[in-house]
């Protein structure tokens, strides 16, 4: 049965789009049939991070308004056959994202795919509400930083009250994805530790993605990190998170610091 996932955070810039692309690709690389859906109407970016920006013809709003059929708007990934993208509109305003329209699209996507991953816009406006509305599982992307943790707490409250699952008194499955984590700084007491964030937000941990130059390199070239640099620490964290989403159970490893001789000399740190 298809699963609808929302990748959300409240705060902007914490890594929702990067994580949507990476998790979508990781699940597809594991053989699942995946579609990633951009809900950021007016400021779409998932197409760019996925490297499909030049192939967008129709978008979700076109489908909602009946200007295009869903299969016409879906863009199949050139690298992995079983990965598709449904882009957001760049021009329309977010009111075009109607509840009925979104419900219908999600229903149709459920028939075609195993995983539907909704990339939420930042904030708590309509786009964010629509992205979480029909989700079965929520991935709350959080940076170990006060404003991100506070906004995540707010979003968790909304997941428990404003979603269809919540209204039906069903349990909304929520997972924490801690991103831009620097184990060294956390150990030195300069950054909130994983345990701190977990204790405050009290939702289970899906993964810890280390702060890494590889993430920016991947988005620069328009390729999810799990495809662009599968051996990197960040990609490993996403592969592990995808395995957990598929039901495997194993401990989350805190990415440790690896400081080479050059790193020691120049005070730069690489994350293993």
């Amino acid at each position: 049965m298809a699963k609808v996932l929302v990748v959300t955070s409240g705060k902007g810039g914490v890594g929702k789009t990067t994580s949507t692309a990476a998790l979508g690709a990781a699940l597809a690389q594991a053989g699942e049939n995946v579609v990633v859906v951009d809900f950021d109407v007016g400021l779409r970016n998932l197409d760019l991070v996925m490297g499909a920006e030049r192939r967008v013809v129709y978008d979700m709003i076109n489908v909602i308004q009946g200007d295009a059929r869903l299969p016409q708007a879906l863009i199949r990934d050139k690298r992995i056959d079983n990965l598709s993208l449904l882009p957001a509109s760049q021009t329309r305003d977010k009111d075009a994202l109607t509840d009925e329209g979104v419900a219908k699209i999600i229903e149709q996507l459920r028939e075609k795919f195993d995983w539907i991953i909704c990339d939420s816009p930042a904030g708590i406006e309509k786009g964010a509400m629509m992205a979480m509305r029909y989700a079965d599982i929520a991935i709350v992307v959080t940076n170990p930083e006060v404003s991100s943790v506070r906004d995540s707490d707010r979003i968790i409250g909304m997941l428990d009250s404003k979603t269809l699952k919540a209204e039906r008194d069903e349990r909304m499955e929520k997972h924490l994805l801690l991103t831009r984590y620097d184990a060294g700084r956390a150990a030195r007491g300069e950054m909130l530790k994983t345990e701190d964030v977990l204790e405050i937000l009290s939702i289970p941990l899906l993964g810890i993605v280390p702060e890494s130059v590889d993430v920016l390199n991947a988005s620069n070239v328009g390729s999810p990190i799990t495809l662009n640099n599968p051996g990197s620490g960040a990609a490993k964290a996403y592969f592990d998170a995808a395995r957990r989403l598929r039901g495997e159970q194993f401990e989350v490893v805190v990415p440790t610091e690896r400081v080479g001789i050059m790193g020691r000399l120049f005070g730069r740190r690489a994350v293993a």
């Binding site: 006060v146 943790v149 506070r150 707490d153 707010r154 030195r188 007491g189």
Partner: protein, 94 residues
């Protein structure tokens, strides 16, 4: 600034953790305090207005959220000669 001070330097992460715990404990109650605070301010000022003519702009409200106890501080500026609302005025107005 000496060497000892450097070693004793307060690490910031525990501070972040503590601040978040206090803040979120409050925000989780009734979806934040802003509504309640506005209501309290309006009603308290109304009560004061029954007796004294006050300028709403000269009412300062402060809230200090603590771990166990919060304090709401209401500061009303009153001129030296109190512009009392006399019982007769209210009776006449009624």
């Amino acid at each position: 600034m000496n060497l000892m001070a450097m070693f004793r330097r307060q690490r910031s992460a525990p501070v972040a953790r503590e601040r978040l715990q206090v803040l979120l404990a409050h925000e989780r109650m009734a979806g934040g305090h802003s509504e309640l605070l506005n209501l309290l301010r309006e009603e308290i000022v109304e009560v004061i207005k029954k007796h004294i003519k006050v300028d709403s702009d000269k009412v300062n409200i402060k809230l200090e959220r603590g771990g166990d106890v919060s304090t709401l501080e209401i500061d009303v500026e009153m001129p030296a000669t109190l512009p009392l609302v006399r019982a007769r005025d209210t009776a006449a107005a009624a």
